[in-house]
Amino acid sequence: MDRFQEIKPALAGDEALSEANRCLMCFDAPCTRACPTHIDVPGFIKKIGTGNLRGSARTILEANILGASCARVCPTEVLCEGACVLNDLHHKPIKIGQLQRHSTDWLMARGGDSLAKLFPPPQKRVDAARVAIIGGGPAGLACAAELARLGHLPVVLEAAQRPGGLNTVGVADYKMSSAFALQEIEWVRQLGVEVKTGVTVGKDVSIADLERDFAAIFVGVGLGKVGALGIPGEDLDGVLDALDLIAELKTDRAAAQKRVLGKRVIVIGGGNTAIDAVTQSARLGAREVHLVYRRGRAEMPAYHHEQELAQHDGCRFVLDSAPTAVNGSAGHVESLALTRMRAQGGQEGRSAALEPVPGSYSEIPCDLVLKASGQVAHSALLSSLPGVKLVRNRPVVDEHGQTSNPRYFAGGDCVSGGKEVVNAVAEGKRAARSIDGWLRSQTKGAA
């Protein structure tokens, strides 16, 4: 059995139809409200029921241009499906994600210009503007697609060789493959989105260049590497950024397998990335997998359903523990030294200040340590943006995605500090609309 097979596979034709007919078509539906891009969920499901799959796909993609990705990677348990009223009536929500996949797959299978044909071509605008999009992740792509649909000329500048950001190199393979993410981007390009890869803004092109060549700039650079642990032994061979292992797995599974097969793995962190590092390691054949987190299970930021997945994969949770050193010999990792942690003086919850419990030293032998304790911001680039106010290394935006420099807009993980693909899409789309509004106000002012 392929351990990376999809955990939410495609629905069979009959299954999609009977599932669609189970939808009650709620008024002002809670699922639609729960979706950050506000897809008209009952609307697209009804269309599956009537056999209007083209219309169904359009309803989805009109609201969320990466609807095919989102159908696979969204944590629907806490979004649309979590909001479904049938949780009360049947203890079983509508399989909204899989229905969404049914419709978008149907359209994608038609290939070619099926997406471009779905939307009327944008009006030729005399005021069409060139807009630079820094970062080709979900936020940047959604912003670019919406700008193109509005008749503007977006150019996406992506540092990596392949576009898509974490949607391409981060999301667990059993949710979606890199190949699919890239195929979807090819498809989105039909709308008139230009994507230049291998271009790092701040290195290959300067901010001054962008200001000269573009009317407005959208910043969607996401987050960078996982931050340093700041403990001795961190540079030993065998200590890895979990994101690098996940990216490797998604591009070269054999290499990742070689690294992990039969090994004792410790993952440090309590978020969804840590869980992904656990489940991916287990699927790559790790002998044992530990997850080390400095607080308790209830405080873990990872979703409950993700924690269960890790548990199911045989993960041992080492809670209320923080690493103090990575021990090794001959340059290679041998164990992780831990101390127990406790909340200071009666504090509770995820933000309680912690202190080590004196004399609580322990060690877990291991071959691989995966750091998954939170990505850090691209602070060098962000702080070089003229007049863009940052708080905690994140651009501050208003409710339309505009920064303190009116020419700059931002969205996605670099603003939120790390949410989901669907949030990045919603914020990219929102920014595109305000870029359009701002550009209009500029030309009006000039005339």
């Binding site: 034709g13 009959d14 139809l17 609307g43 009537t50 209007n52 083209r54 219309g55 359009r58």
Partner: protein, 427 residues
């Protein structure tokens, strides 16, 4: 993009979807919200002398957990005065000049009364009139509604009265509670109707409460028969539309009504000769918003089939609706099971064995399910197994080439001996 705009007996609307005369068209506010949602036209809730309604008015038939497959009502015509209704029609037409607003009318069977209401309706700016000769309860006991629609002479007479006064197109709405609906349609045509609409609701009792023995909907422990509509009535409505459309004496535009919930339903009505459709129950269930898929699905279907407009559909299937005696007795199909798709439920076997022609073999499988196969020389091609099979595309009916010519019952009955082989049920 296909053209959905519609012209029906001289009445234009942006699309062929009208709301039927019923609660969704009670007020101007509702009709305007419906037009905003995308409806092409609205037939106003029937106007006449205001009535008094009972409380508890609807009951439904639910099938397999799905609500309102059939809806029954004992409501009467509008409970608001003609003044208010006509004033609101004027307002709606002023704001929505491109949409169709039809005044549905029902008054006492007196010539002057009809003349007067027709003039007032037209004075309000309505684009056309629909005569409600169909309401099957309450009003019929007062000599109106179905009491008119069930007697062709009355239908003809009142239509004539209306036509004496009317300047706008007159649509006669037919009741299905009659032996042969073409008689009613012919009477309307004879009286001068510009179009007919069908069907109104069907006499029904939806159920009895097994604890208090009252029919539903219960009004102080009792009920009367009501009018049945919703998805359950569509096949009846389709047949009636087809028979009116095929009748050489009628040949006036048809507005199809009865059980339309999806664009597919609407397309079927068009294919059988309707050129607009009206919807009531589906809107009472889900609201005006269903118009979005009604329009979008139809438009995508027309594009896919390469049709330029709805007119290309109208009546296209009528030639394929024939009398039984004209069907080919030599056309032969037999069932075929796709073993890859079969889930081993055995439903086809029991259906054929007990309910049809014992033409399916079965035996238990090691895993506890049932293996089935078709006994091809026994199968008469009735379709039953393919209808009960829960898996789409698993049991299909395959054509068998017999090499024999087309032989209809007409041919056969003239010379049975010539076609003696047809007497074998497995021919």
């Amino acid at each position: 993009m296909a053209d959905l705009s519609s012209k029906f007996a001289g009445i234009s609307s942006p699309n062929p979807y009208w709301l039927a005369s019923a609660p969704p068209t009670n007020t101007g506010d509702q009709v305007m919200r419906a037009f905003d949602a995308g409806w092409g036209g609205a037939v106003w809730k029937t106007i006449g002398d205001p009535i008094v309604n009972v409380s508890s008015r609807y009951s439904s038939v639910d099938i397999g957990g799905v609500r309102m497959m059939g809806l029954n009502n004992i409501e009467l015509i509008t409970d608001r005065t003609p003044e208010i209704n006509f004033r609101e029609i004027t307002e709606v037409k002023k704001r929505y000049p491109k949409h169709a607003v039809i005044a549905s009318l029902m008054v006492e069977s007196k010539r002057e009364t009809w003349h007067e209401i027709v003039k007032r309706a037209e004075g309000s700016g309505a684009d056309g009139l629909e005569l409600n000769f169909g309401c099957p309860h309450g009003m019929s006991e007062r000599g109106m509604g179905a009491a008119v629609g069930q007697v062709p002479e009355y239908t003809c007479k009142i239509t004539e009265w209306v036509k004496e006064a009317a300047r706008t197109p007159v649509i006669v709405k037919l009741t299905p509670n009659i032996g042969d609906i073409t008689y009613a349609a012919r009477a309307a045509k004879k009286g001068g109707a510009d179009a007919v609409s069908l069907i109104n609701t069907i006499n029904s009792i939806t159920g009895i409460d097994l604890d208090n023995f009252s029919p539903r909907p219960m009004v102080a422990g009792r009920s009367s028969h009501g009018g049945y509509c919703g998805p359950a009535v569509k096949p009846i409505a389709l047949n009636m539309v087809a028979s009116v459309a095929k009748d050489s004496e009628v040949q006036i535009p048809i507005s199809g009504i009865g059980g339309i919930s999806t664009w597919r339903d609407a397309a079927e009505f068009f294919l059988l000769g309707a050129s607009t459709v009206q919807v009531c129950t589906a809107v009472m269930h889900y609201g005006y918003r269903i118009i979005e898929d009604l329009v979008d699905g139809l438009s995508n279907y027309l594009d896919e089939k390469g049709f330029a407009s709805v007119n290309d559909l109208v009546g296209r299937s009528l030639g394929n609706v024939t009398k039984w005696e004209e069907l080919d007795l030599n056309y032969k199909i037999i069932a075929s099971v796709d073993q890859q798709k079969c889930i081993g439920c055995g439903l086809c076997y029991v259906a054929c064995n007990d309910g049809a022609h014992q033409s399916i073999g079965a035996k238990p499988r090691a895993d506890g399910r049932t293996d089935v196969w078709i006994l091809e020389d026994q199968c008469v091609g009735c379709n039953l197994c393919s209808l009960v099979c829960p898996v789409s595309g698993c049991i299909t009916m395959k054509k068998v080439e017999t090499g024999r010519p087309t032989v209809t019952w007409k041919d056969f009955s003239k010379d049975p001996d010539k076609f003696a082989y047809l007497k074998d049920p497995h021919h």
